[in-house]
Symmetry: C2
Subunit: 418 residues, 2 copies
C-alpha cells in the first residue's frame, strides 16, 4: 500500500470544526488508496500559552520540565483527530512521541532524531488501520524523558517519518497555498511555483520565507523526501500547492526562482581590528557563545596608516538579527576587556534589511549578480554588504528600501511569468 | 529518610500563583526532613474542557483516545510544579504515569492498578532529589497506551503511591479543611473531626460526602495508608485537617461520627412481582447491564390475594440516582416484554433523598437505630425505606425533609460535641 505523510499546523487544528476539515482531507487520501501518517501540531496559541507559563514560573527553566509541559498540546490534537477519523469510519489511532517511539538525543528543546523504529505503526497498518496520527514536535530521550525539537518542529517530525517509512510524499498543510516567487504582500506580481528544488527552498527558508522550517527542508533534501506545501483552508487535489523536490524532477527551471527578504537585520562593524591569524575565531567564537546568529561576514583589508596601531589592520563587518545586537555588543566588549581582540570602535546600524535572489539556474548562468545589482542601482538603492553562494546572492540595504528592492528584483528576473 | 505523599487537586493548582502556594507547602515538609512524592491534578476546568472536546467529537468515543486526550492536563501541572520547586532551590522532577511507570489494567477510563515499580523514583531519591512530582489520574496499559483511573483518580494515584512506597502518611490537600460530622452548609453545628476510621470514611464517601473518592479510601483501608485531609488554602501544620486511619489509632470514638446525605435519589417499586427463586437476579441483572447503580433494596412478601396471579407474590422496591430512572424503566419494560419478569406496575418516586447515620461504635452499641428513628418521628418525617450495615443506618425520606432530617440526627447524636 503506498504511504503518504500529511502534516497540519496549529491554525489547521485550531478547533473541533477545523479538525473535522482536516479529517476530510485525510479521508480523501485514504479513499485514493493510501495508508496515511498524519502529524499534528497543538491548537494554535496553546503552545505559546504553555511556554508563557514555564517562563513565568522559572526564567532559567530546566529544559526537561519545559519539554514535558510544552509537548502536551500535541497529545490533545492527536487524540481528537484520531477520534474524528474513527467517527467518519476511518480506522485510526493516535501515537505520542514516546509511543512510536521517536528516539532523539537528550538535547532538550532542540533534540535531534536518532531513530524511528517502524515496528509498532507497521503492525497496526498490517491489522487494517488506515491512519496513524502522530503528535508532532516531540520525542523520547535515551533517559526516557520527553524531548521537543524546537519551535516549528512538527514539520521536521513529518519529514523524518516520511523518510523512515519511505513515504511517497510528505504534504505540509499550512495557511498559504504554496511557495511563491516572493511574498505576495510585497508585490501582487508574486507567482505560485508548481515546483521548487530542495536547494532553492532551503535558501528561501533560511533567508526568511516562513512557510517551512529550515531543518525540515534540510532533512527532506538529505533523504530525498518529496515535500508538498498546500493550503488546509482550500479544496485541494493531487495538483495543488507547490512540490519541493529534487532538481532532477524539475524539467526547465528559470535562472532565478525566488526573492527572499529578512526585515529585522543589523549591520555591525568592528573598526581597526588587528589583522592576524586567528582573529576571526577570536571575534566569532564569543559571538557564537553568546547565542548571536551571525549571518553575513565581510572583511576589508585596509592599506591605510593607522598611526599608533602598527602592523596590518582591518575592519570586520557582520550582520545579525536586530534583537541580538545587545548581546553581540556585550560579547565584543567583554572580549576587548579580556584582551583577546582589539578594536577602536563598534559601529552598529540597526536600520538594514537583507534581500536575496535565489535560483539553482545561477550555477550555469553568468551575469545574475550584475543584473541584480543593476536593477538596484536603477532605483538608487545603495548596497552595504554582499554575500553570495552557489545559488543565491544576498545584499544588505537600508530597511526603508526593502519592498522597493524586492519589487525591482522580481521585475528584473521576470518572475511573474512562468 | 521518612517519605510523605501529598496530593493537590485542581483548585489547588488552578494557576501559577496557586502552584507557588503548593510549592511552599511541599517545601515545608522537605524542611521537616521528608522525602516527598507529590501527586497533582490538572488545573481546575482543564479536564472538563478536554472531556467536552472528546464528547463533541465522538459521542461513542474510543476510550483509548479519550484517555490520551484527557490525561494531558496533569502533565502540565506536574511539570510546572517541578519547575516551581526547582526555582525555590528544592531538587525536584516530574514524572508522567508511563514514566514511573504506573502499570494498570487495560480498562480505559476506569483502569485499576497492577503494579508500581519503585526503581526509577527511588534511584532519583538516592541521587539527592527531594520531591518527585507525579501526574495523577493516569497510568500505562500492558499495550503501552495511556489509561486513566476515572474522575477523581488523582486521590487514588496518591494512595497507591503511598502504599507502594510505604509512605508515613498520604496528605490530601483540598478546598475544605477536613472531614466534618456533616455538611456545614446544612447545619452550622457541624464539627470538624480530628480522626475518623477508614470504615466510617468509606461509608461517608460512598454515601455522598464528596471530599474523598471512594476508591481511594478503599485502597487506603486495604493497605493501611494513613490519609490526612486538609486545606490547601490555609496555613497548615502537623495537626491540621482530619486523619483517616485505622480504628486502633482512635482512642475513644463516639457511637456515631457522621451524618451523610444524598439528595438526588429515586425510589422505584415493582408491584406484584412473582416471588420465585431467581426473581431477584431476573430483576437486577438487566438493571446492572443498563448501568443503573441500584443502592437500597427492600422486598415485601405479601400475604394478600392477588386474584388472577396465583402463587406467592411480592413488591420489590429499590433506589437509584434520579438521573438513572429512565434507564431503569426501560430495562424493566424490556425484561417484561422478554418474559423474564412479570409485574403489574412500576411506581416511581423521584422526590426522595437518602440520609445516613455512620459510626463504628454502632457495632457494640444497641439502640442507635431506635434513637435515629425516634428523632425523625419527632419531626414527623416519614421513613420510606431503611437499609442498614454494621456501621450505618440509611433511610429514604421525602426530599423536602432532607435538611431537617440531617439537623435532627446531628442533634440527636450530639455530634457538635467532641
Amino acid at each position: 500500500m503506498p504511504l503518504l505523510v500529511m502534516k497540519f499546523g496549529g491554525t489547521s487544528v485550531a478547533d473541533l470544526d477545523r479538525i473535522r476539515k482536516v479529517a476530510e482531507k485525510v479521508q480523501a487520501e485514504v479513499d485514493r488508496g493510501y495508508d496515511v501518517i498524519v502529524v499534528v501540531s497543538a491548537m494554535s496559541g496553546k503552545t505559546n500559552e504553555l511556554v508563557g507559563w514555564v517562563e513565568a514560573t522559572s526564567p532559567l527553566f530546566d529544559a526537561r520540565e519545559y519539554d514535558a509541559v510544552v509537548s502536551s498540546g500535541e497529545n490533545v490534537t492527536a487524540g481528537l483527530l484520531a477520534l474524528t477519523l474513527q467517527e467518519r469510519g476511518v480506522p485510526a489511532r493516535s501515537w505520542q512521541g514516546w509511543q512510536v517511539p521517536i528516539r532523539t538525543t537528550s538535547q532538550h528543546s532542540a533534540a535531534r532524531f536518532v531513530d524511528i523504529p517502524r515496528d509498532n505503526i507497521d503492525a497496526k497498518f498490517a491489522e487494517g488501520m488506515k491512519v496513524a496520527v502522530i503528535a508532532g514536535f516531540q520525542g523520547l530521550s535515551p533517559e526516557s524523558r520527553i524531548t521537543t525539537l524546537g519551535r516549528g518542529g512538527s514539520d521536521t517530525t513529518a519529514v523524518a517519518l516520511a523518510a523512515a517509512f519511505g513515504a511517497e510524499r510528505c504534504d505540509i498543510y499550512t495557511d498559504v497555498d504554496g511557495i511563491y516567487t516572493t511574498d505576495p504582500r510585497i508585490t501582487s506580481k508574486a507567482r505560485k511555483l508548481d515546483r521548487i528544488a530542495f536547494e532553492e527552498m532551503l535558501e528561501l527558508s533560511s533567508l526568511g520565507a516562513k512557510v517551512l522550517q529550515t531543518r525540515s527542508v534540510e532533512l527532506a533534501m538529505r533523504y530525498k523526501v518529496r515535500l508538498r506545501v498546500l493550503s488546509s483552508f482550500e479544496e485541494t487535489d493531487e495538483n495543488s500547492g507547490t512540490l519541493v523536490c529534487d532538481e532532477d524532477e524539475i524539467m526547465e527551471s528559470k535562472v532565478v526562482n525566488g526573492i527572499a527578504y529578512s526585515r529585522e537585520e543589523a549591520k555591525l562593524t568592528l573598526v581597526t581590528v588587528e589583522d592576524k591569524p586567528g582573529i576571526s575565531a577570536a571575534i566569532f567564537a564569543p559571538l557564537a557563545d553568546a547565542g548571536v546568529n551571525v549571518d553575513m561576514i565581510v572583511q576589508n583589508i585596509s592599506e591605510k596608516d593607522y598611526g599608533d596601531r602598527p602592523g596590518s589592520v582591518t575592519d570586520m563587518t557582520f550582520s545579525c538579527p536586530v534583537n541580538q545586537v545587545a548581546r553581540a555588543r556585550k560579547a565584543m566588549e567583554e572580549a576587548r576587556e579580556a584582551g583577546t581582540i582589539q578594536y577602536d570602535e563598534l559601529i552598529v546600524d540597526t536600520e538594514v534589511a537583507k534581500v536575496s535572489v535565489v535560483g539553482i539556474g545561477m550555477r550555469s548562468h553568468a551575469g545574475v549578480a550584475a543584473r541584480a545589482f543593476k536593477s538596484l542601482a536603477d532605483e538608487n538603492i545603495n548596497i552595504k554588504v554582499i554575500a553570495t553562494s552557489e545559488i543565491k546572492i544576498s545584499v544588505l540595504i537600508d530597511r526603508k528600501y526593502m519592498e522597493l528592492a524586492v519589487q525591482a528584483l522580481h521585475d528584473a528576473f521576470e518572475l511573474e511569468q512562468a
